[in-house]
Every structure is written in C-alpha cells, then in structure tokens.
Amino acid sequence: MHKIGVFVCWCGSNIAATVDIDRVVAEAKVQPGVVFAKDYQYMCSEAGQNIIKDAIKEYGLTGIVVCSCSPRMHEATFRKAASQAGLNPFMVEIANIREHCSWIHKDKEEGTEKACVLMRAAVAKVTLNTPLKAGESKVVKRALVIGGGIAGIQTALDIADAGFPVDIVEKNATIGGRMAQLDKTFPTLDCSSCILTPKMVEAKSNENIRLITYAEVEEVSGFVGSFKAKIRKKARYVKEDVCTGCGVCMSKCPSKKGLNEFNMGLNNRPAIYIPFAQAIPNVAVIDSTQCIKLNTGKCGLCEKVCTAKAIDYTQQDEFIEEEYGAIVMATGFRPIDASKFDEYSYSTCKDVVTSLELERIMNAAGPTGGVLLRPSDGKHPHSIVFIQCVGSRDVSGRGKPYCSKICCMYTAKHAMLIRDKYPDVEVHVFYIDVRTPGKNFDEFYRRAAEQYDVDYIKGQVGKVWEEDGHLVVRGVDLIANEQIILNTDMVVLATAIEPDPTARKVANMLTASIDTNDFITEAHPKLRPVESPTAGIFLSGVCQGPKDIPETVSQAGAAASKVIGLLCKDKLTTNPCVAHSDELLCNGCSCCEKVCPYGAISYDTHLINDHGVKETRRVALVNEALCQGCGACTVVCPSGAMDLKGFSNKQIMAEVEAICL
C-alpha cells in the first residue's frame, strides 16, 4: 500500500505568483496513494526539509513528491532529507513546477493547471518507484589536469598541496600557456612572467606533480573515481631527462625558418628550440617539419654539439596509460583568426597586429626586445589605433556572439603602457562600450583616459588601408556624429578569444557537454560553476567561458578543491539508476551488448527456473559499476527484459498516462 506525501514549494513568490499553491495541494490530496500534502514557502530550507522529514515519520510515507524547482537543483537535497528520515532516497520524485512551469507561464490559471499535471505525473511515477541501493566504486587517488596554462598549473598545485598526485598533460613543449606570452597584467601592471614563472617552477619541483608536456590525451574511458586515460607523448627527439637546457644546439642549428609560436610568429626560431627562456621543462624540442636531419638524414649538428648527449633522432611517440579519479579540463583559449575581418586588412598590412602580438612586441623577451617598433619597417610609430570588439559580440557568423571580457582591460593596459613609455605616440581607441566590472578596473580605464590622455572614440572602424607607407583608418565618432579618417602607424585589433580547438575533442572524449561556442558547460551556471555535468570532470579557466587571470586562478583553486573533495573519499556511491535484465524474459540475443557504450553487458549461460520450467539459457548480465544508466539497451530489447532502474518502462509510461489524462 502506497503512502505518498506531496510537498509543494512556493519558492517565495517564484512559484506562488503564477501557481495557485492551494489548488495544487488540494489536487494532490485526492491522487491515488497520496495520504499527505502540504505547502511551504521554501521547501529546500531547513524548516521545509523538516516538514518533509516529520511527515515521513508521522505518516510512514513510502514515497514523496516535491513540487519545486528543477530536480537538477534540489533533487539531491530532498533525497538526502528523505534518507535522514529513514525513507529510501530513490523514493523521491520532483515535479519541476518552477523552471518548467511558473517561470514560463504568466497566466495563473494555466500555470496552476500545468503544475497539477506535473504533480500528478510525479505521483504516478513515484508509486512505481522501488527503493534502490547505491553501489560502491573505488576512487583512484590521482588526478589528471589537461592543459598546462595558469589554470592547469594552479589546479595541479592546489591538488598536489593536498597530497594527491597529479599529472598535467600539456600539448606544447612547455607549460605556461597564454599567460607566459603576456608582458604585463592589468590592473596592477605587474610583470606576467614574474608572477607566473615561480608557479611553473613550483609545478616542476612539486613531487606530487608529473608534467607530461608535448603530449595529448588520446582516449578516456571509465567513470568518476576510475577513469582510464591513454596519453600520447609526442616524440621531441630530445631526451627530456638528459637535456640540460643549455641552448647550444639552438645557436648551432642551421634551419632557422620555423615561425616562433611563442612570439605569435612575429619572428623565427631554429628547428631545435626551447620555446622561451623560462620554459618548464627547460628542455629543447625538435620541430620535425623543419629539422634537416629528420627530413633528409643529413646535418645532425645538434647531436654533435650536445655535450649532454640528449639528442635522439629515433625517438618515437610514447603512450602512457594511467588511471585517474578525477579529470580537470584546463584547455584554455586562443585568439580568433583576425584575417576573417578583411576590412581591417590584417592579412595584408603588417602593421595591423592583434593584441597578443602587441603583447609580444612590448615584451622584453619579444622579437623587438621590448621596444615598440612597427613590424613592417621597424620604425617607431607615432600614432596607434586600437579597435575593440573585433569579432566579439558578433552574430554575423564571422565572430563570436559573446563578449570576450578581457579586451577592454588589456586595451586600456596597452594604451596606458604605450603612453607611459612613449609619450610621443598618439593613441586612439575605437570602442562600442567599455566594460570594466572588477576590482580597480574602472579606475584603471579612467586613468588611461584621464591621466594618460588616451583618445577613446565611441564608434567603430569601417576600413583600414595602407597609403604612402602609413595606415589610414576610417571610423565613426558617434558622439560627434561624424565619420573620421585617421592616419596612423599601427592598428591593434582586440580580437575575440575562443576555446582552444582541442577542447571539443577532449570534451567529447570525456562526455562533457559543450555549448554552441565550444565552451564546456558547467553543471550549474551559479551553483556548480567548476563542475561539468559529467561526474568527475571539472573545469578550470577559459575552457568554461572568457575570464581574466584572477578569475582563472580562483576558478582553478575551486576546481582543485572539488577534486580534493572527491579524492579524499575512499569509495564512491555509484548511480543506482542502472540497467537491469530480467533473466526470465531475456532472449540472450546480444542486441543490448552491442549498443552499450560502456561494455557493461556480458552474457552467461546458466540454469534458469522459469516458474517451474527449468532451462539452461544464455542471458544478459549488467555490470552495475560500469553501467551509467543511459538506457540505450532498454529499447533494443524487444521482450522488455532490459529495463532501467529509476526510469523503468512502466514509470515512464505512468508519467505519459498521467500527463495525457
């Protein structure tokens, strides 16, 4: 005999404003099996939870329905409350009358009616729920961080500090990422390298951290607590443990045509190189596309000059297979390709540069040694035009619909630094809006405009072209309501940022969901911002959305703390909503086995007693630790032997019936 309790939440006025709570409660009371129904302002509050717990005890409820917000929000809360009151947590169903009802329907009559239907469906389902017991699975006490930028480094350091081993997999030859390329950081203008390199060194020296650079994750299987990853460590043709990073090879290498990636291709580097002076590991790598020895078999100069005998032309890609309890995505970003915006002549005029290129030009370790020079002729520019929102907030398809968040601030930084160092240089900034939320951010921007006399022009640039050895910019000043033409020496494009292209591949591998812009989706935008909906996958840095360094670092720490929280556990309770095969109905046809993405189904032949008929049959068996509960197997099973706990055929059909009443 069912004894169902229904609890209707007002969610303050969120639900109560468009749903007549009293009617839902009254309607609930007459549902078959319902013995108790009550409403409360905030069911999720302690007082609300106590109402539930008390009712479970007092009425001996066998199942409860909470009509409230999305189950993605508070299902866990109410399950826990039920469990504390002695009711199996899987005897709880949520009727989502907020996100799916009160928030979208303005008409109270309509909202109330729908809320009643949703409640009815949940009651119909819960009467068919069965108590489920979660299984247990192991937790491998090791974490994997994909990406070795500031986000990945910070996450790894925090996890390592808590005593857990961490592997950082970085696709480039060194860790450091985008931050290593920056000259100064806003709004304090401190040197980027100066604050990043100690962290890089710390990552290298921390005994809990293993750096796997020049490597990519190839395959991931398993699930939270025990992922298995296969990592390809690309051949760098230099023995990592032998190379001393002396750099002699670099100076002797005769092939010097490779574009220097670290300097955004503004200058060249040898075929054997260390990406930058503070690279970690400070080990050379051979660019196999440029190396004469690897391409023709001749040369071998670097091998000759290397006193440490670190060169190995025969090196092959290696594979590392490791188990991890948790995986952090810190795959970062890249600027979008500015050449799509032909009006800015980026691909035709050398003096049109992106902000990241300017960053390298301004950097002491950059191609110009930190002196501001025009890329075309190496002359000192007298005027620079900055164009903001290049590809940001652009829904035309050429750019990105979102705000890249960091451009306003770095443009202010660049403008300020240039005016500070070279007061003779005129600086104009074309902007649409200047967005500066953040501690000391607006003050920073105003300083650029007021103290450094940067010319902020509200408007956009329509065209940039080259004329008589200088650039011409035609833009509009919307405040003055005039089209203006500026002669200038350099144009700097604040290009939008986008997730690193590897993010999509990695996300698919991890079955982490991804949004239309390829940013990884968080489990909840507010309450679980550093977790992916896929258990055991965490997000750090720009892979989740545009953010600046302080935000990245704090998110990295947050992700680390979530990982630590997970790794601290000895066992994980597994999702009990898994597939289950009724051996009396099973035909043993193997269809389910073939569609299972987790290899969770196997077969066994044994004696079965089918109501007195004893037969030896081949039947399916589900490994509950491997099953993730997708239900693909349930539909290919014609006899209905395969069903999903918590979402059984009958439960779903009961919901359908209740809805279509």
Partner: protein, 132 residues
C-alpha cells in the same frame, strides 16, 4: 493612406525585415559607409530613428537617396541589423507615396551639365522609380 509616424516606422521594419532592436550602437555601419559625407543622417542613425519611431524627417530628407546600396553596412554589421535594407524600405515607401517625388524634371539639365556622360538609361529609370 495617412499614417502616424510610428505606423510608418513599423511599416519600414516590416518591409525591410530588419530587426532594429538588435543594434548595439557600435557605429560600424557608419564607419563603413562610403556615402557618409553625403548624408544628413547616417546609417546608425537611420536604424536608431526607425527603432524610436522617428522617421518622418528621414522620409522627407533626401538622405536615403544618397545611399549607394553597396551593402557594406549589411556585410559588416556584427549584429545582422542590415541598415541598407532599412534604406531600401524607406525608398519603397517614398516610391509608394504619390507626389512624394525626389526627382523632378527641373533637376535634369543641371545633372547633365554636371556630368555629360550620364547615361540616359539612368535618368529614365530614375524617373520611373522616383516620380509618380
């Protein structure tokens, strides 16, 4: 048919199919416009004026006839607002309006004087379009 200014603006939106609310006032259209200097009002202003329902002056003023229909603004607009389509819509309205001609025979001699090479075809088609 007599219309209020707001109704005319609605009509322009309808004809152009342009969603003027999408404009984020960046000015890219005006920055791009090669006929900017010829105009009293500029592309970003057309859009704003239509959005605000203040279009009478726009219709009276000859600005829209200055538009070259080069569609640079449509091409460049990051929000897909399509200012040139707004212009086209205003032109259509002007054409529809009897007597609202923007091209009178008196202007012809001056035009020919200014540019001897002006094709006759251009003048004839201009009459067909703008004179009713």
């Amino acid at each position: 048919m007599h219309q209020t200014e707001k109704e005319t603006a609605e009509l322009i939106k309808q004809i152009s199919g342009s969603d003027v609310k999408k404009c984020m006032k960046c000015g890219k259209c005006s920055a791009t416009c090669p006929a900017y200097g010829e105009m009293k009002f500029h592309p970003h202003q057309f859009v704003t004026m239509v959005a605000h329902g203040k279009v009478d002056e726009l219709l009276r003023d000859g600005t829209v006839t200055r538009c070259l229909s080069c569609f640079a603004c449509v091409e460049r607009c990051p929000r897909g607002v399509e200012p040139a389509n707004v212009v086209a819509a205003i032109r259509v309205l002007a054409e529809r309006e009897q007597g609202g001609s923007n091209f009178v025979p008196d202007e012809v001699p001056a035009l020919i004087a200014a540019d001897n090479e002006i094709p006759q075809q251009a003048l004839v088609s201009a009459f067909r379009r703008y004179r009713k």
